[in-house]
Symmetry: C2
Subunit: 332 residues, 2 copies
DNA sequence: CCAGATGATGGTATCGTTAACTTCTGTGAC
DNA sequence: GTCACAGAAGTTAACGATACCATCATCTGG
């Protein structure tokens, strides 16, 4: 069976290709009787227009590139899910890529994906290689940086301050009387958002006159497993540790496991805080104090921003702070 | 700044467009000196070939469609992550879509995505609408059904038997002396894989002469929250319930929460089993007995199968059983 | 009843690349 | 010295759609 092209539809409907094209894209511009004939032909032949050909001709496609560190990490997956479904509604297709927290890989991906001539590019984070920036500039396409708020955004951004999160948790624990607060984070420094939270913690303990205790473990993606080890590391350095801030809920869950195994009473002997408010955070034992950020919201706002931009209504760059929320539970 | 086309590169390198094309795709076919000139021109102009134009001309693109119920659910995200990265290595780009467990939505997505003329289509599950099957047939493209093993596969499949999982958990609990085993599952029947597990449970309790106790709650996507309610429902029906099989670890975590709150001693008073072996399953309290299936493995095998198929080495359909594993932990 | 406006349809060029063929160049064998 | 031939580069025509402009029929109003 031969592939069905517009020509076949046109022949069967007894009209020109141009009329078929119009019937499909601007049905109001063709006479009702003709429209019906075309639609029947399309139906009978099971014709699906070739989008590549269409966009080559119209110089406009409906691709949007989105790069995240990982797909299988709930916050980013939430973002992609909502971004993707919002954009789908307007006929856009997301081209996703995962960078594994590597700037080099991000650069390669952008290079490769530019071949599809996307109408917009969404990247995660505020740091990008020099070459990446050059390519993004040259692409002449809207760029949105998500999950953080860059000091010098390339264009638009949708995120929140990870630094402020670190400050908030540290101040909160201090206000609750904790004085020996440790920070647990991944061994590699590739996750800039995590490093920002750490930075917030650092400046705050300094300001409050507390000791800075940072322990690193494993490498991204972080596994719950690591939490067990990192708690022991922290305890080795500060025996009377009374609080741990974890760079993510994932790590915090491991810390809770270890603390339970050690027979520690939480939160009296040790307070634990995480980051992300993963679904499981309210079902741990004790339930986990954490910072809530809505990945879905980031995706939604990004989609909204892009659609406004691409439909030509609002060309200006925007910086959108989706903010965050400290969720107090029983672990602190 | 004008967009850079192959023409510009050709002019700058002092060669024809055809030579540029060759230099980029079959460098061995051009003289070393020429090759170098072209490469320099490409570099200086920052040229990136337009893939849409290329594939229109060559009648071959590198798109592969993949549909899953949800992106932000770890098993599927794992599959997509590995599928995507394996395929990327060979230059393929995944076009992802999420069906929300709706066959109607699956049909719409396939219709829309066929416009990109994908080289292969990956769908989740064994059930598809009649129209969907017709379209897939007509598309004349390899199809892989994943996360289950259809009785009548459209083409290839990579999965395991959800029915067998249900049987395995039920038999296991029975062997451990449990006699009043309940099953907790989502209220909507859209998740066919969950329904299959239930079916496995049903036939097994019948065979063993046990009472069948099924309670439904909420609708997909399942939230941990639901677990609390569903345990109460089960207890209302069978006061001396001694085991619960949950359709997913997500639900099981909620059940564990509720059980703990009721002061039940696990597993002596109640055994709980889940499905999926999510990372958190070994960090719950007590740790969760569950069925492990590797989403990553499904993605990997699917990629492997597709690449063999698309590179023309092996045209035959394959049914690959990635199997599953019962992970015994402290909750049973 | 006809000029001009309006609406519906068709013809042709084009989008940026590659396939298939043609042409050109230089080399080596006889 | 010539001829055959391989390797390198160029020419032309698609690929499947849309943009743009031309054409033709129909309608409207004076």
């Amino acid at each position: 069976m031969k592939p069905v092209r517009m020509r076949e539809v046109a022949t069967r409907a007894g009209v020109s290709e141009m009329t078929v094209s119009r019937a499909l894209r601007t049905p109001d511009a063709v006479a009702p009787r003709t429209l019906e004939r075309v639609q029947r032909a399309v139906e009978e032949l099971g014709y699906v227009p070739d989008l590549a050909a269409g966009s080559l001709s119209s110089k406009r496609n409906r691709f949007i590139v989105a790069l995240v560190p990982l797909l299988n990490s709930s916050p980013f997956a939430d973002t992609l899910q909502s971004l993707s479904s919002e954009l789908h509604q307007e006929g856009y297709q997301l081209l996703m890529g995962t960078t594994d927290y590597s700037l080099k890989r991000e650069e390669e991906l952008i290079q490769a994906l530019l071949g599809h001539r996307p109408q917009a590019i969404v990247v995660t984070g505020r740091h990008h290689g020099a070459e990446t920036r050059r390519r993004l500039d040259r692409a002449q396409v809207p760029v949105v940086e998500i999950w953080d708020l860059p000091d010098q955004p390339i264009d638009s951004a949708v995120g929140y301050s990870n630094f402020a999160c670190g400050v908030a948790l540290t101040e909160y624990l201090h206000a609750r009387g904790r004085r020996r607060i440790g920070f647990a984070i991944s061994g590699m420094r590739d996750d800039d958002r995590g490093e920002q939270r750490l930075q917030g913690y650092r400046e705050t303990v300094q300001r409050l006159g507390l000791e800075e205790v940072v322990e690193r473990v494993g490498q991204p993606p972080i596994r719950m497993e690591y939490g067990r080890q990192v708690l022991r590391q922290l305890q080795a350095r500060v025996p009377d540790l009374d609080a741990v801030i974890c760079v993510s809920d994932t790590l915090a869950i491991g810390v809770l496991s270890e603390a339970r195994e050690q027979g520690l009473d939480l939160p009296s002997q040790l307070a634990v805080a995480g980051f992300g408010d993963f679904e499981v955070a309210q079902h741990t034992h004790p339930s986990l104090t954490t910072i809530r950020v809505s990945g879905r919201e980031i995706g939604r706002k990004t989609a909204e921003l892009l659609l406004r931009r691409l439909e030509g209504e609002d060309q200006a760059p925007h910086i959108i702070d989706v903010s965050f929320q400290l969720i107090e539970r029983n672990s602190t």
